[in-house]
Symmetry: C2
Subunit: 307 residues, 2 copies
C-alpha cells in the first residue's frame, strides 16, 4: 500500500486512535503520526510503545502541519478540542472524529472549524471493553463498518481519501445522515449498553445478599452483560447525554416490550413466550448471514487471538 | 480415569446430554451409554455420530438397568418423563437432571420416583446458543460450575459418586438449597436472557423501519444480545414459567433501576451515570478474578477453538 496522508495527528490516544496508529504503521499509510493526550502518562506510554512518532503537550501543537486530524476524545470533550485546534489547522486539512454520536459532535465541532478544512464526521463500529493507549491492535477494524456523516457540501475527493484510509484498515464504509446514524446506533449499541449496565447494577445489589455467588455463577448469560458493562465510563456517560432523544425513544419501546413479556410470565402464557423467542432466534441468523458474527458457539473463555 | 457408572441412560439428546456423552467416552467414565429422544431424527443422529451405544424409542426402555439416569429434557417435560420411567428404574440407581430451574423440577419429579433410587437434582452452568444432538462437545463443562440441590436425606455416597463424574468432565461442584439456586440463577441467567430477548425484539420492530441496518451495524453491543437471545425457545419458555416468582422479583428490581438511569439521562445528570458505570466496571473485574472469564477482549468474530 502507499502513503495516503503525509502527516496524521491523533487527538486522544486510547483504544481507537491507538488501533488506527498501529494499522497505519503496519500498512505504511502515513508518513508521520503525531499525537496528543491530556494525560502525561498516556503520552509517555504512546511514545514508549511506538504508537506515534512524537507527542505534543497541547492539541494545538499536535495538529500543526497535519493533513489528517483525528478527534478521538470523549464526545463531551469535542467542542473544547475543536475550539483549541481551529486556528492551527493547515488549510486543506481533513478533520474527522470517531465519536459514537454524530449530531452532537457536528454541533460541537463544526462551528469552530475554518472554511478551508474538510470536516468529515466518522464512527468506526469497533471496540473492545478495554481502553487506554495499550489497548489498541491493528486488526480492530477488519470487516467492521466505519460510518461517515459528511454534510452535503464537503469535498468528494477528501471524503474518498479518508474512506480509502479506513478501507485499508480492513473496514467497510457507508455514508448516512447524522440523525439517522444516531437512531440506528441507539438501537444497536447505546440502549443495549444501558441495559447491560442496569442488569449488572441489579446484580451488584444482590451480590451483597448472596455474597460472591452472582460473580461465581455468572457463566450462563450474565457474564456477557458484564463484558459490555465494563466499557469506559466517561465515553458512555457522554454517549447517553449526547444522544439523549434517540436513547429515550428506544428505552421507551424497550420497557413497553419488556412489560408485555413480564405479563406473559405472570399469566403463564407459554405460547407467547415461545413465539417471541423463536422470532428473536431468527434475527440472530440474520446477523450471522450479514457476516457480522460467526456461527461458532462463544464459549466465552478461550482468549481471542490477539494478532 | 476409571469407570464410575456401568450403564448411563440419557433422556433427551441435546447440547448438554450430548456433551456429557462425549465427555464420558473421552475419559472412559461409563461402560455403556444409552439414550432416548422423542424425535426419531434426533435418535438417528445420536446413533450415527456415536453419542450413544444404543437408542430406545421410549424413556422407559432406556432407563432399564441403568445405574445413572440423566433427565436432559426441557423443565416442562420433566414430570411426564419421571412418571414414565419410575416403574422401570433399577433399585439403587441415581437419577439426576440438568434443568435450569430446581424447585419446580423437584416438585415435578420427586413425587413419581420410588424410594429405592437416589434423586440428586443438578444444573451445569454451561451451554452455548446452539441446541440439538450435533451441538455437543466434550469440553463444554471444563471449569464451569455444576450445582446440585439434593434434599437432606439423600445418600452421601451417591452424591459423591455423581460429583466425581462431573468433576471428571472438568466441572466444579457446589451444593445448595433448590430455592436459593433459583434466586441466584434468576439474577445471573434468567433475567439477563429475558432482557436480551426483549432488546432483540425491539430491534426487530425497528428493522422494518431501517431495513437491514440494525443487522448490518450490530457489532457494537447488540450482537452480544442476539447471541444470548438465540438460545432454545422451548427451554427458555419453560425456565420463565417454572421460575416465575424469582424472575418477576428480579425484573421488578431491574425496571426500578433502569428508570433511575433513564431519569438521569433525561435530566442530564452525567455524574450519576459516570458513578454507576464505574461501579459496574468493577463487577466485571470480580468476574475475571473469579476465573469465570478471561480478560482478553472479545472481538466476537474469531471462531472459538472447538476442541
Amino acid at each position: 500500500m502507499s502513503v495516503i496522508y503525509e502527516r496524521v495527528a491523533l487527538i486522544g490516544l486510547g483504544l481507537i486512535a491507538g488501533s488506527m496508529a498501529l494499522a497505519m504503521r503496519e500498512k505504511g499509510l502515513a508518513r508521520e503520526i503525531v499525537g496528543h493526550a491530556r494525560s502525561a502518562e498516556t503520552r509517555a506510554v504512546a511514545l514508549e510503545i511506538g504508537l506515534v512518532d512524537a507527542v505534543h503537550e497541547t492539541a494545538a501543537a499536535a495538529v500543526a502541519g497535519a493533513d489528517l486530524v483525528v478527534l478521538a476524545v470523549p464526545v463531551g470533550a469535542m467542542a473544547a478540542v475543536a475550539a483549541e485546534i481551529a486556528p492551527h489547522l493547515k488549510p486543506g486539512a481533513t478533520v474527522t472524529d470517531v465519536g459514537s454520536v454524530k449530531e452532537a459532535v457536528v454541533q460541537a465541532v463544526a462551528p469552530h472549524l475554518p472554511e478551508n478544512v474538510h470536516f468529515i464526521p466518522g464512527h468506526p463500529l469497533a471496540g473492545t471493553e478495554h481502553s487506554g493507549p495499550r489497548s489498541g491492535f491493528p486488526s480492530l477494524f477488519r470487516n467492521r463498518w466505519w460510518l461517515f456523516t459528511p454534510a452535503g457540501d464537503v469535498d468528494e475527493a477528501a471524503i474518498a481519501r479518508l474512506e480509502r484510509l479506513v478501507q485499508a484498515f480492513g473496514a467497510k464504509t457507508e455514508r448516512m445522515e447524522a440523525a439517522h446514524h444516531d437512531l440506528v446506533l441507539a438501537v444497536t449499541s447505546h440502549t443495549p449498553h444501558l441495559i447491560a449496565y442496569t442488569m449488572v447494577g441489579v446484580a451488584d445489589h444482590l451480590k451483597r445478599v448472596t455474597e460472591s455467588e452472582v460473580v461465581e455463577y455468572s457463566a450462563a448469560g450474565f457474564r456477557d452483560f458484564t463484558r459490555i458493562a465494563a466499557s469506559d465510563p466517561t465515553m458512555w456517560r457522554d454517549v447517553f447525554l449526547q444522544n439523549k432523544d434517540a436513547v429515550l425513544d428506544i428505552l421507551g419501546r424497550f420497557t413497553e416490550e419488556l412489560f408485555v413479556l413480564q405479563r406473559a410470565i405472570r399469566m403463564g402464557d407459554g405460547q407467547h413466550l415461545f413465539d417471541y423467542f423463536t422470532r428473536t432466534r431468527a434475527i440472530r441468523r440474520g446477523i450471522i448471514e450479514a457476516g457480522q458474527d460467526t456461527s461458532a458457539p462463544d464459549f466465552g473463555r478461550a482468549p481471542a487471538p490477539r494478532d
